[in-house]
């Protein structure tokens, strides 16, 4: 991600961004994408980022642990991480998977809180981190940032409500299909075989994401593979028949999907 920029910086536009002239980081397009920085002046974004601490974590490494004092708000720059809650009985639940541009550890804003989940990298990852009190100052100075944070939290609440409803009412098969659809939306790439979910995701993690067991997930994925819906590698999934998967997730009427056959 540290490729040198070949362009000559446009001096007149840049010379006001005092410290970091024209360093095109992975956040170059953050101003136009949904998230914390949407709609902010790129110079403000550079200034805010200049105050962050950069944290690099290897695959399986941890940004912070559940139950420890929440000291910093994080935004992932690249890589991918899962937020995992462990119950007193040792059950693990994947609460969320974060990708580039996503914020996590937002509870640090509240002061005396503890992190409600552990943030573990599922591939080598890098994040920016701001101490809680500093975030409070940034939000006061940049109202657009505060509004974006509210938007992000509202989206997340909506997603959790969807997942809660799925857990309460849907068969496991639909929950797994929904989880794959969500992951495809987040990290999907079209290739010649179908829609590839561009992250390593073990069956155990998929089970923890859908509130079921490894055995059940394996059984469902094998059945879908036999029907030609997906290709499930060791830790990779390609959705070969996107419509067929959505038909399961949304319980679409039989007959419509091309992959389905009576009997």
């Amino acid at each position: 991600m540290r490729k040198p920029t070949g362009e000559t910086p446009r001096v007149e536009a840049r010379d006001r961004a005092r410290r970091e002239p024209a360093r095109a980081g992975p956040w170059a397009d953050w101003a136009t994408r949904p998230g914390l920085f949407r709609g902010l002046d790129p110079r403000d974004i550079s200034a805010i980022i200049a105050t962050a601490r950069h944290r690099r974590v290897v695959s399986r490494g941890v940004f912070f642990h559940q139950g420890t004092p929440a000291s910093a708000l994080h935004v992932l720059v690249h890589g991918r991480a899962k937020l995992v809650q462990t119950t007193a009985e040792g059950h693990q639940v994947v609460v969320r998977i974060v990708g580039p541009g996503d914020m996590f550890g937002g509870v640090a804003l509240l002061g005396d809180a503890a992190y409600p989940a552990t943030a573990e990298a599922i591939s080598a990852s890098e994040a920016l981190a701001w101490p809680g009190p500093q975030v409070a100052r940034l939000l006061a100075r940049h109202p657009a940032l505060a509004l974006n944070a509210l938007r992000v939290l509202a989206d997340r609440l909506g997603e959790l409500q969807d997942r809660y409803r799925e857990l309460a009412t849907e068969r496991v098969e639909r929950r797994v299909a929904h989880a794959l659809a969500r992951l495809a939306r987040q990290a999907g790439r079209r290739d010649e075989r179908g829609v590839r979910i561009d992250m390593t995701l073990t069956r155990q993690e998929l089970a923890e994401l859908t509130g079921t067991t490894l055995y059940t997930v394996s059984r469902i994925l094998s059945a879908w593979q036999a029907r030609g819906l997906i290709d499930a590698g060791r830790a990779r999934v390609v959705i070969r028949d996107p419509h067929g998967l959505i038909a399961i997730a949304e319980d679409l009427p039989a007959g419509a999907p091309a992959g389905s056959r009576e009997g």
Binding site: A184, R185, G188, I239, P242, I246, A247, A256, P257, A258
Partner: protein, 71 residues
């Protein structure tokens, strides 16, 4: 170059972003495409295959849907 005509090799997302009024065509056929997680990946030709429509007829239907709203 601006895209001026709906074609089967556009993704569902591209087509709906360009012509939001196409949403009505999907809804009339009770398709799940508008707002679908796969809309960024599936082309309008994939939609025809999934719902077992002749591609030529599907394209005519989409274009007729745009004409209705005066485009």
């Amino acid at each position: 170059m601006a895209v001026t005509k709906v074609t089967l090799d556009m993704t569902v997302d591209e087509a709906l972003a360009r012509w939001p009024e196409l949403g009505a065509v999907f809804l009339r056929r009770r398709m799940a495409c508008a707002g679908c997680a796969m809309a960024p990946f599936e082309r309008l030709s994939d939609v025809a295959r999934s719902y077992r429509l002749s591609p030529a007829r599907w394209l005519r239907e989409l274009r007729a849907g745009l004409r209705e709203t005066g485009r």
